[in-house]
Symmetry: C2
Subunit: 140 residues, 2 copies
């Protein structure tokens, strides 16, 4: 996406990319460094119930990174927004490899910590079933 010269949006997109890089490289240290380590963080993997609190979120990545095959993502439609010290990114994750062709719609939420660094506080991914429904706008 176009971020122009906005340093807030640019840094937010860097943090968002770091999430997917850690995911692809199965780097639990990098993933852990990205998240806020608190009770309020939540993570909803596609089809899963929401995991609440850093210990459960971390455990999910530990389990996923131990799976048979690593995931690879092509990210499209990324849009970043900043409101004060909170930022969020909506993005489509197009999966490669074993799950080739699957698309996950994601909403990633970050807050800035005391040092000004973006830390993830929520990740919500959901499977996209086919193309977007066609909605006919009538007399709105």
């Amino acid at each position: 996406m176009e971020t122009g010269a906005d340093p807030d949006l640019a840094s937010l997109l860097v943090a968002n990319q770091a999430f997917y890089t850690a995911f692809e490289t199965r780097d639990l240290d990098a993933m852990s460094a990205l998240w806020e380590r608190s009770a309020r963080v939540t993570c909803t993997h596609p089809g899963w119930a929401t995991l609440r609190g850093w210990p459960h979120v971390q455990a999910s990545f530990f389990a996923l990174f131990g799976g048979a095959s690593a995931l690879q993502f092509v990210l499209t439609e990324a849009e970043a927004h900043v409101h004060g010290d909170t930022g969020w990114v909506t993005v489509d994750e197009d999966l490669l490899g074993d799950q080739h062709g699957a698309t996950v719609a994601a909403l990633n939420l970050f807050t800035r910590d005391a040092s000004g660094r973006w830390r993830m506080v929520a990740h919500h991914g959901s499977p996209v079933n086919g193309p977007p429904p066609r909605i006919v706008r009538r007399d709105l």
Copy 2:
């Protein structure tokens, strides 16, 4: 959930409840009043691609509210968090009626407008497939 005497959390949960009340009563005016009417809003209905921008989001509710049967929700596991002028709620939507037994995991994001009122900027709902996966924590 327990909000104690925190007026920020209490008002955020009121806004979150207003979303589900508008959904259940198919009240497009109430739904429209709740959302920020901007290009940055996004809405991901369960299984759908992400809809971007208020016209598309509004059209989706117009279409959903014209469906054969209204949805009813029992909300559980609601957790609200406020960071500056941004607030978010994670909640499980347990569906009644035709879709009895289905659970949707939701992340609802709000920002405060100039008058201090919470306006929804993102809704992301995803189907939960069965109980949460059992994750065995080993040597984290």
